[in-house]
């Protein structure tokens, strides 16, 4: 397999297209697209630090995009979209992407917003417990007094 080199700027553009296709903005516009939630540079660093994974990803990118890479003037963002749609490296990066996305402050804030919108959290939270427990309290003792 031919080894390729990609400069950081190109790689960033490719991966921006890639992750935003994998996790786009939600239809209700509450949840952000991936590149708005994660630190793309850090995300890439975490992936590329593992040499084996790096080589694998580069090889797969090369297969799908050899013509573009040779041209050097390709639309790198579009290439990222194309790679995402082909799912060719989805399995390799999904763990990193989900981790980065769902541990981001922005995503967690938005999830909370969504939850608050859906659920009405009552102020007197414990009143309900005692009402529900009425029946259990009336039951016979459940332990053996030994």
């Amino acid at each position: 397999m031919k080894k390729i080199k990609l400069n950081k700027l190109v790689l960033n553009k490719i991966f921006k297209g890639l992750v935003d296709t994998m996790i786009p903005m939600s239809q209700d516009k509450i949840m952000p697209k991936a590149s708005e939630a994660i630190n793309l540079k850090l995300f890439l660093k975490n992936i590329l630090i593992e040499k084996k994974l790096k080589n694998l990803i580069y090889e797969k990118i090369y297969i799908i995009s050899k013509n573009n890479i040779k041209k050097k003037t390709a639309d790198w963002h579009d290439l990222g979209v194309k790679i995402a749609k082909s799912k060719i490296i989805e399995k390799d990066i999904e763990k990193y992407l989900l981790e980065s996305y769902f541990t981001s402050k922005r995503v967690q804030k938005q999830l909370l917003k969504k939850t608050d919108k859906t659920l009405y959290v009552k102020k007197n939270k414990n009143k309900k417990i005692f009402l529900l427990l009425k029946l259990v309290k009336k039951a016979d003792l459940r332990y053996k007094n030994v």
Partner: protein, 521 residues
Amino acid sequence: MKNNDVDILIVGAGASGAAAAWNLSSKNYKIVCLEQGPFLKKNSYSFDRTDWEKLKQKEFNINPNIRNLKSDYPIDDSNSPISIANFNAVGGSTILYSGHFPRFHPSDFKTKTLDNTGDDWPFNYRDLEPFYKINDKIMGIAGVSGDPAYPDISKLNPPVPLGLAGEKIAKGFNKLGWHWWPSYSAIATKNYKGRKKNSRASVDKTYWPLAISKGVELRPNCRVIKITLDNFGKTNGVVYLDINNKEQFQKASLVILACSGIGTPRLLLNSANKYFPEGLANSSGLVGKNLMLHPLGYVEGRFNKFLGSFIGPEGCCLASQEYYETLKGAKHKRGYTMQVLRGTGPLETAFSARKFKHLSFGKDFHKQFSKHYGHNMSLAIICEDFPEKQNSVELDYNNKDSGGMPGVKINYKISDNSKKMLSHGISKAKEIMKEIGAKSIVAFGPVRHTGWHLMGTTKMGKSKKNSVVNQFGQTHDIKNLVIVDSSVFVTSGGVNPMSTLQAVALKITNEIKISPSRYFD
């Protein structure tokens, strides 16, 4: 370097070691505690952190073989359907635990008499009750009094809210006429003794600040590798590796082991000498035997309605002990707790949905994720386990820790009784999920990565032939060598053991305070 002599040396700064150190600190003893792990920085791991779900994949994974930190030791559990979970640091497993904090039942101390299985403890629930109370106060236990499954448990902090999901399942239990009760939880439901509201009570934040303020010296990053004896057959201290892996000797008049049901037998077996060739204090041959792990079943229901089931502390919601005692006509003896675990966080929800091919990347990602997040609720079936000699911990000379000390090998088989109990529990948990309208149910057991509850490997008892320590925690063979952790458990109960193991540590150390001559002379 020569260390000054101390009166009491405690090995291990986890749940039981911390309780022991605090209790003994009220007397004028010079006390040192050696802990193989570090004293973690504040907030290194807490549910407040946005990345806590990521941390628990690696650095704070419950499995030491995955964490693989310097403070961990290798555990070969390939010969067990349940893998071992622990954490090695000041605070021990309380750094990672859920904080679910039930007590044993009175019957758990008398299983031989009541059900002709397991063995009776040399003391009973009432003997332990005062220490449960002290421990509840220091750990700041939340809950509700009046539970028909226990003798009165009072002076609790307000309970952890059930949440919509908890209320739903509570209604289901009521419909079926089954027992349930809000969790006894080591969660600060109000600002409590310097702890922030909603924080979990790990002992690095509860017992340790108190013990240190009373003069106990805590030395983290010090791994004890051997307990030594004098010419009279009494222990006179320990050999340990300091943070630079340099061998040190700490002289002590009394040595207390608090290293868990795996770490304690490991240290005793590694301390074999010409008087005890099979391991220190092992004249009974029972050091490392009778390992009990609580086989666990898992039942998860998925619901159409959004329940916000991830809201609230993981593992602390409510529990049912409808089937805790031996059931007339059942195929198994003794019983189990059904613990409501709540739903999973966003990352775990996404991972699980991907695993079962319910979540795909692309334009439908958020829509599909929303169908899962907050829509699931799960139950754990915590089955009582019984002591069996073939279930054991032994030294593993092929796998050594960072200091060269042998790791451990686990040999464990689930008994027929546990299998039947597990199957009964899973079918009952499915019943409740159906009752409350689960759209789909996933159930399996035993769950592999659940070996948290490590008990029985230096069993307590009256006879030197059938046990390793007596009712005062002293090893039968060496009277100034004491064990206070869950390895002394005679039976396992069908609940999380944290509350009971700390109460036992307090009871034993109370004996040291009131009858010192029994231990020191």
